[in-house]
Symmetry: C2
Subunit: 352 residues, 2 copies
């Protein structure tokens, strides 16, 4: 079997991280990179700052010109967070008869907020005999899949707390800006009121996935964003928060069934939490039979975790039945340390 052939669409922090990871894997080749702006025309290796070695050259180009029928087994799309924004790209990829996987947060469970686009994606995938998945560390793993895996060991579930306490310190200037690091509470309130504070995208999707996994009818989901105001000056590599300003934002959400809150989502994100004695971690606390009290501390770092999920789910997406997939419909993610080809079904291989 020929190596698994991958195209990366979007060569920012996520796309480059994926490329670096794939260069260390076996039985898989990057055959194209699509981006816009200054990177176009440059060698992928030059952009990554890694030695080309024996690898064939890959020149960053225009995605629509690179992605053609039969050139790849899968395209990894890491350009957007929202289903609406990534939809035309996924449509384009699938219409070339190629599988797609994306880091777009809303695509982890697109039926939650874009049911019509989700149905349309499923239709396009089936019409072209390919499959499409959105995944990442969150949504896609820690606050939803891990919760469900633990409920698999339970005979009854009453109440779920899904908590991720993480540090924003490893992230770059864009995230610092998006998360309002160092701004005043007044500025936060103004930005929040005008819809300019994105916060974490994914609660609706995680709750949708948990509800489907358990078979719960959720009648209402509410979420809010609160400022995390620091008492002390905090300094991260790409952001700073003076005492009295925002060190981050805390996302909270509650899902209701039969009038009762059955799922609590809790996701405070801030720079330098350790400086004020906050331990980061991923927590799954479930009341039921039996109770679950799970902690992974420190947390799985976001960028790394999402990179891992995207590269590790490649075989499951290629092998899947045609259609829109979720982490609920596919076999579990595993770190792929052997040859990718050992995991691909012969009849599902596109580049023969």
């Amino acid at each position: 079997m020929k190596n698994v052939k991958v195209i990366i669409w979007g060569f920012g922090a996520m796309g480059s991280g994926i490329a670096k990871t794939l260069l260390n894997r076996k039985g898989i080749d990057i055959v194209g990179v699509g981006d816009i702006g200054a990177k176009v025309g440059k060698s992928m290796f030059e952009v990554l700052g890694v030695e080309k070695g024996d690898n064939p050259e890959v020149i960053v180009g225009n995605a629509e010109e690179i992605i053609k029928p039969g050139v790849a087994d899968i395209v990894i799309v890491c350009t957007d967070s929202y289903t609406k924004a990534v939809f035309p790209k996924l449509k384009f990829v699938m219409e070339q008869g190629i599988n797609a996987i994306t880091s777009a947060e809303q695509m982890a469970y697109p039926a939650a907020q874009e049911p019509e686009l989700a149905a349309e994606l499923d239709k396009i995938a089936k019409a072209n005999g390919v499959s499409v998945l959105g995944t990442g560390i969150n949504p896609g793993h820690i606050m939803d899949l891990l919760v469900l895996v633990m409920t698999g060991a339970m005979t009854d579930v009453e109440h779920i707390v899904s908590r991720r306490v993480n540090s924003l310190s490893p992230f770059g200037p864009t995230v610092m800006e998006e998360q309002g690091i160092g701004i005043s509470v007044e500025d936060f309130n103004a930005k929040k009121a005008s819809g300019k504070m994105a916060g974490h995208v994914g609660f609706h999707e995680s709750v949708g996935m948990i509800a489907e996994g358990l078979g719960w009818d959720i009648e209402k989901f509410e979420q809010d964003m609160e400022p995390i105001v620091t008492d002390v000056d905090r300094v991260a590599p790409y952001g700073e928060a003076k005492a009295g300003t925002l060190a981050g934002v805390a996302m909270v959400g509650q899902a209701y069934k039969d009038g009762e809150c059955v799922i609590e989502m809790d996701h405070p994100q801030q720079i330098e939490p350790e400086q004020v004695g906050i331990s980061t971690g991923d927590y799954v606390i479930i009341k039921g039979t039996p109770d679950i009290n799970l902690a992974n501390s420190p947390e799985v770092e976001g960028g790394l975790g999402t990179t891992a999920m995207l590269v590790n789910m490649i075989p499951q997406v290629i092998n899947a039945d045609a259609g829109l997939q979720t982490m609920l419909s596919l076999p579990v993610p595993c770190c792929v340390l052997g040859d990718y080809r050992d995991r691909i079904k012969e009849d599902k291989k596109i580049v023969k």
Copy 2:
């Protein structure tokens, strides 16, 4: 769609626990119970000690007489721990054209110790258009599946510690006897030397599953069993260990790749661990990128967890492609709180 129809083969502690759980679930009926000895001829409800209510009567009978083509969608076999022992039963079920799921520990990854029987089961399943899965809390979840799910969020894995520290106190007299509770170290050594100490069955299977999931070539696996001698008298509901005698046994195992130990299995099982300050729990400690440091404390109770896994994996087994399945080849386990019928593919339903 008609309710999912289930037959339970083996009505001991596990089979009865499964029946009680299924009686509380929606869209699923127990249509038969197979056992031997004193229970035959009795009402399932009488044996369980629960009210029959509106449920149709189920009389415990001979499994081979009950299991016939078209009478059920799946048979849950909880009679044995070893693949060799359960093989004829699984063969019989599948030859009636019915899917099978079993609690037999070795069946969680039968290729590890019975590769020929595993291949044979795969062949029988395919010939009859059905599927078969072995699962449980361990092997099947805590010491293997959970490890793999966490590696899904990693870009590299170097070393794994899979640890389950549990209490044997909830178990009955059979387990007390099997685990040598209250015997002397001399008796333990004699029983171990003569192969009469079973200890935990499942390390080979868990390691096999982890190795397949990661794509690791494991060249050697070693396991051993050590006595846990108590310093103080310990009393559990069904067993007692005087100071100086066995409160349990500790199973340890090491898997090697390229001459290095890459997987450490660690599973001390004892009565009343809390009495000597030992906290029970499930632990996944992985060195890699990023590191994982996960703890679920206290541990998922074994009997309950295995019951849950068997009843929760029913839809995945019915929906699967024909063949021998593992927890690696099927979608994740979730607690099924909604209607089972909502999860079953129309073309996979046997009892129409």
